[in-house]
């Protein structure tokens, strides 16, 4: 069996694809990669389909061993990466030989990092997706000791890389008014929008708890309303006035008033803001948010054209003559040992 053996894995690691749609009416939220841009980067690096499944890490990765030859790629938050003890750059694809040990360490920047395999992980499909929804007990839960099945490896890969996207370290996130914004006084909304918002330690795939420099956020109506459907990026204000941004694994409905929502195009930037870091919201019109979404999609669609072969810098190579200047090009046998 081809696959990736999990020797160690950090808490919060999940299998993610683009998530599941069509089940919200039964209470199942989409899940899917927290950073959809990073997911698309991995697919571009490996020539995967848009919906192939990857391993998602939160802050730290784990240790893995290739059972057979395997093409992998990394994306999202840059994490310390090594193969058989030697450091490897992030956001590129590379070939693992049978028995190779890969270690994914701590995030240097951002929160969610991804480990992709060519053809995607072949874990159980539930309700049309492989996405792990931990709280709902849906999808595969990766744990040490398991072998994650991978697709048969096809030939023709070569090491590719992508530049770091521009959304890491965002200090401004676009905000839209929502159906319940009127439940807050104009003054309260203005203060909230003007305030520095700090990301708290209590954050996961369900939501991000924020601390507003303007203090707890007061509603006009009290602490709860009749439960209603929640969109990803909605900012609910809990009973003690704490803003919480609800994300991929949120409950599908809730009764806390929501002051507004995050523009869809900015969700990758938002989720990559680490605990302790701060940002501000900038209110935009729905039209502006849709324009931003259009730009975001164009960016995603352009990734496959943006990947470039890894060209090794001669300064980094001890024995220049022993290397191919463009990795992988001269070898044609990589995939035949599977």
């Amino acid at each position: 069996m081809s696959g990736l053996a999990i020797l160690e894995i950090s808490p919060g690691a999940t299998i993610q694809d683009q998530g599941r749609t069509g089940w919200l009416r039964y209470g199942v939220t989409s899940s899917g990669a927290m950073d959809g841009h990073a997911l698309a980067e991995g697919q571009a690096l490996l020539g995967n389909t848009d919906d192939d499944a990857a391993l998602e890490f939160a802050m730290r990765g784990g240790k893995f061993r290739a059972i057979k030859g395997l093409w992998i790629a990394t994306s999202g938050a840059e994490m310390a990466l090594s193969v058989n003890g030697g450091a490897v750059a992030w956001r590129r694809s590379l070939r693992l030989e049978p028995g190779d040990l890969i270690e994914v360490g701590a995030a240097r920047r951002g929160v969610y990092g991804y480990l992709h395999v060519a053809g995607g992980f072949q874990t159980e499909m539930v309700l049309g997706s492989r996405a792990t929804h931990w709280r709902a007990e849906i999808g595969h839960r990766p744990e040490a000791g398991q072998i994650l099945p991978t697709a048969p490896q096809i030939t023709g890969h070569r090491p590719m890389h992508l530049p770091e996207p521009g959304y890491f370290g965002a200090r401004e996130i676009r905000f839209l008014r929502g159906p319940q914004t009127d439940l807050f006084d104009d003054q309260v909304l203005a203060e909230f929008l003007g305030a520095e918002l700090r990301v708290g330690a209590a954050r996961d795939r369900m939501g991000m708890r924020l601390t507003s420099a303007s203090g707890p956020v007061q509603t006009k109506v009290g602490r709860t309303i009749a439960s209603d459907s929640i969109n990803p990026g909605d900012i609910q204000i809990t009973g003690d006035g704490t803003p919480v941004v609800l994300l991929a694994d949120r409950g599908s409905a809730g009764g806390y008033p929501r002051i507004g929502t995050i523009a869809s195009a900015d969700l990758p930037a938002l989720v990559q803001i680490a605990a302790g870091e701060a940002f501000r919201l900038r209110q935009v019109t729905r039209e502006a948010a849709v324009d931003a979404l259009s730009d975001y999609r164009k960016d995603l669609n352009g990734l496959r054209d943006k990947v470039e072969p890894v060209v090794r810098d001669p300064h980094d190579i001890a024995d220049l003559l022993a290397y191919n200047l463009i990795g992988g090009v001269l070898r044609g046998d990589e995939d035949e040992r599977d």
């Binding site: 039964y26 209470g27 199942v28 929502g178 602490r223 709860t224 599908s252």
Partner: protein
């Protein structure tokens, strides 16, 4: 209008369309839970399903609204807004008879004891004797008003006025799948373990969610449910998703 209390008479105004983020329109029929509002919601949603323009991702009925999620790059907001507005105006949704697709369920419940740790507390809050709680709770046919919060979790309305009790001050970190939970004249039936502030008065062996089943979710909004008191030994003999539970009307 007291929005703290989902049971006060609600505004049954004309439904309103509101943008909800950049990928959804909320069709809001009311602000609170009211069976008449919910009836309109379910009728409107049922009429939409199967008749939606390309670009709509899914529709989600709740107590008081239908959320229409769409891709604004595939379907312009203005076009969807106009489509939904026309649908709203085409029918008097508050008085419309929804299609008779709802199923009737009889679900066995073990009330009290380990399966209903808060039954005595609920009896006290409702002004009932402990032995009256199960009888009263099982006496009325309830309607699935919405599914949500967690997979397959059903909100059922509506119990008599004396069940207008607040949620508990403390959150129970986990109640099991099948817990029968009550507050604010509603019954909540989780299909997976959840944390909750609601009072647990019993537990049913019925499971409305099985991801591996051909039909993963058994309950739908609009279905009618009657609970039937039973004992632990009898409950243990039931198949969690057996078809017998679908009672003939």
């Amino acid at each position: 209008m007291n929005m703290n209390n989902p049971d006060t008479a609600s505004t049954r105004g004309p439904a309103r369309l509101k943008p909800a983020g950049d990928m959804a329109i909320l069709v809001e029929f009311g602000q609170t839970y009211d069976p008449v509002v919910n009836h309109a919601v379910l009728g409107f949603d049922a009429a939409l399903v199967g008749n939606l323009p390309a670009g709509v991702i899914e529709t989600v009925p709740s107590f008081r609204s239908v959320l229409v999620r769409f891709d604004p790059l595939e379907l312009a907001y203005e076009r969807l807004h106009e489509f939904l507005q026309q649908r709203l105006e085409a029918t008097a949704w508050y008085s419309a008879v929804p299609p008779e697709t709802g199923k009737n369920w009889v679900l066995p419940v073990v009330y009290g004891g380990d399966e209903g740790p808060h039954l005595a507390e609920v009896a006290d809050l409702c002004g009932l004797r402990e032995d009256q709680v199960a009888d009263q709770h099982a006496a009325r046919e309830l309607t699935v008003a919405m599914l949500g919060f967690a997979p397959g979790l059903a909100y059922l309305g509506q119990l008599p006025e004396i069940w207008q009790i607040a949620r508990r001050a403390e959150i129970t970190p986990t109640v099991p799948a099948g817990a029968v939970l009550v507050a604010v004249r509603q019954t909540v039936l989780p299909a997976t373990p959840i944390p909750t502030g609601w009072h647990q008065i019993g537990r049913t062996p019925f499971r409305g969610f099985d991801p591996a089943a051909a039909r993963p979710f058994l309950l739908s909004p609009g279905d009618r449910v009657r609970f039937e008191p039973t004992d632990a030994a009898t409950a243990a003999g039931f198949e969690p998703g057996a078809a017998w539970r679908e009672a003939k009307r």
